[in-house]
């Protein structure tokens, strides 16, 4: 008997497959991908493209969670990053110029990196609890974004900037390449170097890691910098999609969806072992679920309930309690050997 269902990624994969199956039954065209003018279109392509911001944020969140932390500020960082990018483009004489857009992106990502470093400073250097440390920026960030845009929703008309979210490269949307590049980069950096295993060691047992000589402070700090930077890129994609910097709605609640994606992917909120592939699956589950809700015509007022039911189901099948029950059902009951306790008598 193969124990495929015991694999870490079995349940997230199964959940995604079930969602896709339901969709393709309800909507036969769901799996259809058509070629128009050399570009691919279809529901699956949309899911991949729309998932880009959440994908980036969730990848960063995975690393932060692996260090026993959490980053609540990612949504606010997205708002700041979008505001910076659009303000640069808006203030330039030639918004349509590729150079202008590149400078804007550079500035925005740099600011996001600094914000990530700020979070890392609070957590790693000052030892503030991650949930509190990142709450600071979560609350303040959107205010900063509003300050940058002067309180308005800055809109721009810049072809190179719009390309990021809506353009095509070869046959796929450009945003899909951004996602894929981020996944590949994180996977290579974490798994080809020792960063991944050192991060896990710090997350599992910080004190043992410190005594083993691991620079745990730098590792934790780095995780927040990566998270901030990726959130910055996500903010640019979001702003490009709506061609505007909307400080109030950019990345709204994305921190919670990102945490959800990480957990759906099988990484424990307690820190330690993490799975990049799991997080990717988690993001795709969430994005497919949103598409499903939209398509099934669930009234928008009820859609969070529907969402919650599915999420609870997926999280429950992954819980040790349910797993224990499942393995009891599948295993033939055999008498349990009771170990005789070792009784060491010491003469009085």
């Amino acid at each position: 008997m193969t124990r495929i269902w015991k694999h870490r990624l079995f349940w997230p994969s199964a959940a995604l497959l079930v969602l896709i199956t339901i969709n393709s039954i309800a909507r036969p065209r769901f799996l259809t991908i058509t070629m128009r003018d050399g570009d691919l279109y279809g529901a699956l392509i949309d899911i991949l493209r729309n998932s880009a911001p959440l994908m980036l944020v969730a990848l960063g969140m995975t690393l932060v969670i692996a260090t026993r932390g959490i980053d609540l500020s990612v949504g606010a960082v997205m708002a700041v990053s979008g505001a910076v990018a659009l303000t640069v483009i808006d203030g330039s004489p030639d918004p349509g110029n590729l150079g202008t857009v590149l400078v804007a992106i550079g500035f925005a990502v740099l600011v996001a990196l600094v914000l990530g470093a700020w979070n890392g400073f609070l957590v790693a250097a000052l030892g503030i609890q991650p949930i509190i440390a990142t709450l600071v920026l979560m609350l303040a960030g959107r205010g900063v974004a509003l300050l940058i845009t002067g309180g308005f929703i800055t809109t721009v008309n810049s072809a190179p900037f719009s390309y990021i979210a809506s353009g095509y490269l070869l046959v796929l949307p450009f945003a899909v390449f951004v996602s894929a590049a981020a996944i590949a980069l994180i996977a290579v950096v974490e798994r080809r170097t020792a960063l991944g295993v050192l991060t896990e060691a710090v997350g599992i047992n910080p004190e043992a890691s410190r005594l083993a000589g691991v620079r745990s402070r730098s590792i934790v700090w780095g995780a927040y910098i990566v998270s901030g930077t990726l959130a910055g890129v996500a903010g640019i994609i979001y702003a490009s999609n709506i061609r505007a910097a909307d400080a109030n709605s950019a990345g709204w609640l994305i921190e919670l969806y990102a945490i959800l994606a990480v957990v759906l992917g099988g990484t424990s909120l307690a820190g330690g072992k993490f799975s990049i592939a799991g997080t990717v699956l988690g993001v795709l589950i969430i994005q497919t679920l949103e598409a499903t809700i939209l398509f099934l015509g669930v009234p928008s007022a009820q859609s969070p309930v529907f969402f919650a039911i599915v999420v609870i189901a997926v999280v429950m099948v992954q819980s040790p309690w349910v797993r224990g029950g499942l393995s009891k059902l599948t295993r033939s009951r055999r008498p349990q050997a009771v170990a005789e306790p070792e009784r060491t008598k010491v003469a009085a």
């Binding site: 060691a201 599992i204 047992n205 004190e207 691991v214 590792i219 010491v346």
Partner: protein
């Protein structure tokens, strides 16, 4: 100081045949314990002896598997700590469990505040709190915030609170571990007051001097079993220590040659610490370790032996003294720095500070090397496999599977994995804190043999163990600590087990050699 207690007084607490079984461990094995009114009764024993388990049975934290418990003549089974409190048993823990953000008076009277017309009568509350504090000889403003006071005062407030609850039994678990000398005296004053009023006090402490100063009677536990109950005045210190530690019959006499190996102490020591100490943790101490030498640290738990090596390793920061490595001054302010100076430290807390439980044997073994190399230079798979295979073989790790998750290994094998981690970093000085605690006899022997073998090849070792035979067997020189102070150094050629026990139990100045 000792007050003789009339044995004919009926006991306030009588525990008979108390047995508590945890998964895989028999924590208490038919232990009897008698506590009489108006006595201070110390419970002594090394780590894992069952002191805390016994206290937790008495205070309703654990339920007992078998045995009977009688409090004030009534047979009791406690389902919760509240049950025990109702029966008049109060506990003051090491870390005070009061509300630091409330006032002293509120803390003392919490749950018993006088009311008037449905609201709290603050004036009466504070008056009554003051009365209770005064009865213990304390003059503390009941309106001051609890958190504004030192731990010592907070403990005394906790005791006052126990008196409001009219406790007949007061359990003091390591009450003096973070107090200085004056504070201890103040606490002892309060204890004596209470004893005079007939309260029975259970006193748990690692400080021998304090136990002898305050207690009337001593119960000794070892490995979950009762060893004996004595009047303090009739119990010589070395008998007590022998009872606590026990004597182990072993087949390792062959190793005792290690202890008599001659060490060349003419050159530079690998490590020289001068006046290293930290306020409230360890009085300044000196220590030298020469190449190829095994220096044993002997002392009871809490004597400062772990504290000393943690200061040397930079796991804790010393506030006094300095260290030289091979004659050159070294700032060992973090484990990182110590490792860079080729010093490795294996903590006594294997689970909490040693293994990374969810990682594999291989990942745990290479963690030390990988940390030294930094994250960018990952150790190559082939190199890692060879290294891990070599250490699994050399130390006899079972199962011999590099991909096994370390958390699932037995204690002895986890210890071997840790030893492998440190040896792989090629240290010049290896600090082993209780490397043989809680592991089976075979693994114990393996680890001692390895230490003897490595030191013969030039590795310097600081070896800490509660089992003095181990220290005597492996170390050429033994530094003795008591009550957070290094009290002397012995050449192990000049001392046997009885001599060492006598030395670490009794007051000595200078050397007995």
């Amino acid at each position: 100081m000792t007050m003789l207690v009339d044995t004919e007084v009926p006991p306030i607490v009588e525990m008979r045949g108390i047995t508590i079984q945890f998964p895989g461990v028999l924590a208490l094995d038919h232990v009897d314990f008698l506590l009489r009114p108006g006595e201070v009764h110390a419970i002594m024993g090394e780590n894992g002896a069952g002191k805390s388990t016994l206290i937790k049975a008495l205070t309703g934290v654990y339920s007992v598997d078998s045995g009977t418990m009688t409090v004030a003549g009534v047979k009791r089974t406690f389902a919760s700590t509240a049950d025990a409190q109702d029966a008049g048993i109060a506990t003051v823990y090491q870390e005070v469990n009061l509300c630091p953000n409330l006032t002293v008076g509120e803390n003392v009277m919490l749950g018993h505040v006088p009311r008037r017309g449905g609201t709290i009568d603050w004036r009466a509350t504070h008056a009554e709190a003051t009365r209770h504090l005064h009865s213990l000889g304390l003059t503390i403003d009941p309106r001051s915030l609890l958190s504004a006071h030192s731990i010592a005062i907070q403990q005394l407030v906790a005791i006052s609170r126990a008196m409001v609850l009219q406790a007949k039994v007061l359990v003091l678990d390591e009450p003096t571990s973070s107090l200085d000398r004056d504070e201890v005296e103040q606490l002892f004053g309060v204890i004596r007051e209470l004893r005079a009023t007939g309260v029975a006090i259970i006193f748990i402490s690692h400080f021998l001097d304090q136990v002898y100063e305050i207690s009337d009677r001593i119960t000794v536990l070892r490995n979950g079993a009762l060893v004996g109950e004595h009047r303090t005045a009739e119990l010589p210190r070395d008998t007590l220590v022998t009872e606590m530690i026990g004597r182990e019959l072993d087949d390792l006499t062959a190793l005792s040659g290690t202890a008599h190996r001659l060490i060349d102490r003419t050159g530079e020591p690998v490590l020289r610490a001068e006046g290293i100490g930290k306020r409230g943790v360890l009085e300044p101490a000196d220590l030298d370790v020469y190449p190829g030498e095994v220096v044993g640290l002997a002392g009871l738990l809490g004597s400062g032996r772990t504290e000393l090596v943690r200061l040397l390793y930079g796991a804790d920061r010393p506030d006094a003294g300095h260290v030289t490595v091979h004659g050159a001054p070294a700032k060992l302010t973090s484990p990182r720095h110590a490792i860079d100076h080729r010093i490795s430290f294996s903590s006594e807390d294997r689970r909490g500070e040693g293994i990374v439980a969810d990682l594999t044997v291989a990942e745990n073994i290479v963690l030390g090397i990988q940390a030294r190399r930094g994250w960018t230079r990952k150790i190559r798979k082939s190199e890692q496999d060879a290294l891990v295979a070599e250490y699994i073989e050399a130390l006899g790790v079972r199962p011999a599977n590099p991909d096994a998750v370390v958390g699932n290994l037995s204690g002895g094998n986890q210890q071997k994995v840790l030893l492998a981690r440190w040896l792989a970093t090629a240290p010049e000085l290896l600090v082993l804190d209780e490397p043989t605690r809680g592991i089976d006899v075979g693994a114990k022997a393996d680890i001692q043999r390895k230490v003897a073998e490595l030191s013969a090849r030039g590795l310097s070792v600081i070896f800490i163990s509660s089992e003095l035979e181990e220290v005597l067997r492996l170390a050429q020189r033994i530094a003795v600590l008591r009550d957070r102070r290094k009290i002397g150094e012995l050449d192990s050629a000049d001392v046997d087990l009885d001599g060492l026990i006598d030395y670490l139990a009794n007051e000595h100045e200078g050397s007995v050699a």
